[in-house]
């Protein structure tokens, strides 16, 4: 039964991908890519990767669709018909695909428990997490402690993206004058009321996800994205300027940097106890307590940076002066 659901979702995904390939109106392409992410999130849940599914849904369906739509608002609607010959790309793609299929021939079968992947490094994580870190969610344990440095790299990557977008778009952000007031959708009464109602729970849910990461799916990254989603809705409905009063650009830039500093700061602390970098055992009374404190701190850093990057990116995109009037939406 399991594999049937698997196959169905995969075939559905393939269908969406081909649809994206064929469509020329960019608006539907973006929507389809949102669908693609959601369905892959569903598939990931089915493959027992709950954390990844959560992130994929939050990022794939949420943030990237928002960014793409705001790019469309600033650029063009339709894709010009391609003039270039399709032969070379087809050959390249076909050969790569063939090589990959050739590569799958010696792979362990899907879901085969005796595959080398499950024999060598993973068993220790599963068995040792209980007593070494004492945290039910093994993925968060591995993410924040065993391979904590990878996550520091991840935070730095998202920090780089934030800085890069600021570098590229900060120059052309127009000053929030009274003109921007019209974009606040006064006449959307229903939206304004519902948003006011929803923003509270969304922020609450974000904090829940942030600290629930140790026990169930969740963690710094997902929390950050949800936190940013709250501010994006607020900015969309109540206008960039009012959102700017709530969370000003300067504050976002400080939060951006602070998250990374918190994360690397936690790592540096262990130097003074003569332990290697990112060794949390020194932080608490016992080694296990230290791990808990360390992971919470680290996840907090991740959450802060991710939220700040998403908000600052949205501010940068929304701040550009759109060539088309707002009515054309």
């Amino acid at each position: 039964m399991e594999s049937v659901i698997n196959m169905a979702l995969l075939v559905f995904l393939a269908g969406t991908a081909f649809a994206i390939l064929r469509r020329t109106t960019l608006f539907s392409v973006v929507m389809l890519s949102g669908v693609f992410s959601l369905v892959s999130a569903a598939l990931l849940v089915h493959l027992d990767a709950v954390d990844v599914a959560f992130t994929e849904a939050a990022v794939g369906a949420g943030v990237s669709t928002v960014l793409m739509l705001s790019t469309l608002a600033l650029t063009a609607r339709h894709e010009a018909p391609g003039t270039r010959s399709r032969a070379i790309p087809l050959i390249v793609v076909f050969l790569t695909g063939l090589a990959l299929v050739y590569g799958t021939l010696d792979m362990p079968r899907f879901g085969d428990p005796s595959a080398p992947v499950h024999q060598h490094v993973a068993p220790r994580y599963i068995s040792a997490t209980a007593h070494e870190i004492g945290m039910p969610n093994i993925v968060t344990a591995v993410l924040a402690s065993y391979r904590g440095f990878d996550t520091l790299g991840e935070v730095t990557v998202i920090f780089t993206a934030g800085i890069a977008v600021l570098l590229l778009l900060a120059g052309t952000i127009r000053e929030p004058t009274t003109a921007t007031k019209i974009t606040a959708m006064e006449h959307h009464l229903v939206l304004r009321v519902v948003t006011k109602v929803l923003i509270g729970p969304i922020l609450l849910f974000a904090l829940y996800v942030q600290f629930h990461g140790d026990y169930g799916p969740g963690g710094g990254f997902q929390a950050g994205v949800i936190f940013a989603a709250a501010f994006i809705i607020y900015a969309l409905v109540f206008g960039l300027e009012t959102a700017g009063n709530a969370l000003p650009g300067r504050a976002v830039r400080i939060l951006l940097a602070l998250g990374v500093l918190i994360y690397s700061g936690t790592g540096v602390v262990s130097f003074f106890f003569n332990k290697n970098f990112l060794d949390y055992s020194v932080l608490g009374a016992t080694a296990q307590a230290g791990q808990h404190i360390g992971i919470i701190l680290v996840e907090f850093g991740v959450g802060m940076t991710v939220a700040a990057v998403m908000v600052s990116t949205f501010y940068a995109f929304a701040g550009q002066n759109p060539p088309i009037g707002d009515e054309e939406w």
Binding site: V117, T156, T160, I163
Partner: protein, 494 residues
């Protein structure tokens, strides 16, 4: 206490400095902070190199978790040497960048420029020092993302920097994704991500088709990042339209880190006796390297813009490094490793000269450098010396690399290759001398008000030129390190 944590400090110092520099409002403060940080990281890399030369190799467990479970930093002679190159060039570029950036980038971006610069440095250092395959991918992405942003900053002077950055982003991401697919397949067959552990567990999987495809994907992925010949289309535009200081830093370090990564995966992870390695070397790398050397140099001859000309010459020089690798001999690998260092010095100095010309003349093309020999004597003298080093005239670093490369070709018995190597360096004579002739033997336009480059740019240029000559005259140290690294990679007894 500090010396125990040197490997991680090498990456953490610039990593922490990047957010700190994001706090600075004024470019001056950010520049000063980055200069101090780069100097510190250069000092760390030298200390590491000395420590490694004594002890062989250093292993640093992150989070004190044992090797295959946690992430491990393995520093040996090869990557200590590359670390020193990257942080050394990073330190040399900064004093140069202050004036060059002030002229080429919009004022509001200048403070954040240094943050992106530090992130790029962190990415490169992290990529080179790590002993974990996936960690290398993460830091490869950090350096690539900041590089795309840095290249796009060239839009201050020329809008083509944007399309160049976009093409670079697309090809770079495809390369990185190929690399991740390769790592994924190798992880699937061995279950571990630590490079040393991977090497041990791959021994048994000689004729496994998945490992073979993984090898192909990893090589293609890094090849794209490396701008190996057929996949180099993004490099000329990216280097030509990026701000000059960025081109200096990228030309001298970015491709080096990618070459190091290729060396590390080919010789440490898959190992010298991996049956496909020999075949790929003779039938794929050698022809591609030769094609790179000849095609890129010939195209360089016909360029009007000097930065693009030197960019094509960089593609040719990468061909030399890959050719050195393809001999699978100690001398060949020594040639590749020493050319990493020599090429960084050569290209760093040459691009710095072009940056000075761009500062004074607005652009570095054949009609803006006419008669500059008299107007900007020191800058053009630096160009001549750098050009001679590029050609491979004795008493310069270029000669040392050519010497080892030709010796490797002759040792492997394929003497026609030796002649081809030398012929392609003659192509370099043509395009270097076109510039020298335009600069010295032609009269400057009457109204040209070019004056000598400012001291803050001349001093770093001449430091690199002096290094070019010093390591050309006394190549004892560099060749000792390079041959130790080569023997280590090939697993030959020290």
């Amino acid at each position: 206490m500090i010396s125990a944590h040197l490997p991680i400090l090498q990456v953490i110092v610039p990593l922490i400095a990047a957010p700190l520099s994001a706090f600075c409002r004024r470019a001056g403060v950010a520049w000063y902070l980055s200069l101090v940080i780069c100097a510190v990281s250069f000092a760390i890399s030298i200390a590491l190199l000395i420590q490694v030369l004594e002890e062989g190799h250093i292993s640093y467990l992150l989070g004190s978790w044992a090797a295959p479970w946690g992430i491990e930093y393995r520093v040996d002679v090869v990557n200590a040497f590359v670390l020193m190159i990257i942080s050394g060039i990073g330190t040399a570029v900064l004093p140069y960048a202050r004036t060059s950036i002030a002229a080429e980038i919009e004022p509001h971006n200048q403070a954040l420029f240094y943050t992106a610069y530090l992130l790029c440095l962190t990415g490169l250092l992290g990529m080179v020092i790590t002993g974990d395959a996936f960690n290398a991918f993460v830091f490869l992405e950090i350096s690539s993302l900041s590089t795309y942003a840095l290249v796009a900053l060239g839009a201050g002077t020329d809008r083509r920097a944007l399309s160049a950055a976009y093409t670079y982003l697309v090809m770079g991401t495809i390369g990185a994704t190929f690399f991740v697919i390769g790592i994924g397949l190798v992880y699937m067959m061995t279950g571990t991500l630590n490079m040393a552990d991977l090497a041990a567990r791959l021994q048994g999987l000689e004729h496994n088709r998945t490992v073979l495809v993984a090898f192909a994907f990893i090589v293609t992925g890094i090849g794209l990042k490396l701008a190996l010949f057929p996949m180099h289309l993004w490099l000329p535009n990216a280097y030509a339209f990026a701000p000059s200081a960025v081109t200096v830093f990228l030309a001298a370090t970015a491709t080096k880190a990618a070459v190091y990564l290729l060396l590390r995966f080919l010789f440490t992870v898959f190992g010298i006796d991996y049956h496909i390695l020999g075949l790929t070397m003779t039938w794929l790398f050698t022809p591609l390297a030769l094609a790179a050397m000849f095609a890129a140099s010939t195209v360089a001859i016909f360029q009007v813009e000097l930065k693009r000309m030197l960019a094509y010459s960089s593609v040719a020089q990468i061909g030399y490094m890959v050719l050195g690798m393809s001999f699978l001999s100690v001398t060949g690998l020594t040639a590749t490793i020493i050319h990493l260092f020599n090429h960084a010095l050569m290209k760093g100095a040459l691009f710095m000269v072009l940056g000075a010309i761009v500062l004074r003349q607005g652009a570095a093309t054949f009609n803006t450098i006419r008669g500059l020999g008299r107007k900007m004597p020191w800058t053009m003298a630096a160009f001549v010396t750098g050009g001679l080093s590029l050609i491979g005239v004795p008493l310069t670093v270029g000669f040392v690399s050519k010497w080892y490369l030709v010796a490797a070709a002759l040792e492997s018995g394929r003497w026609p290759l030796a002649v081809l190597i030398v012929l392609s360096s003659l192509l370099a004579v043509i395009y270097v001398w076109r510039v020298v002739e335009a600069a010295y033997l032609e009269e400057p336009p009457a109204d040209s008000k070019a004056t000598e480059a400012p001291l803050s740019m001349l001093v770093p240029t001449w430091i690199l030129i002096a290094a070019n000559i010093y390591f050309g005259v006394d190549a004892g140290l560099t060749s000792r390190i390079a041959s130790a690294g080569a023997r280590l990679l090939l697993g030959v007894a020290q």
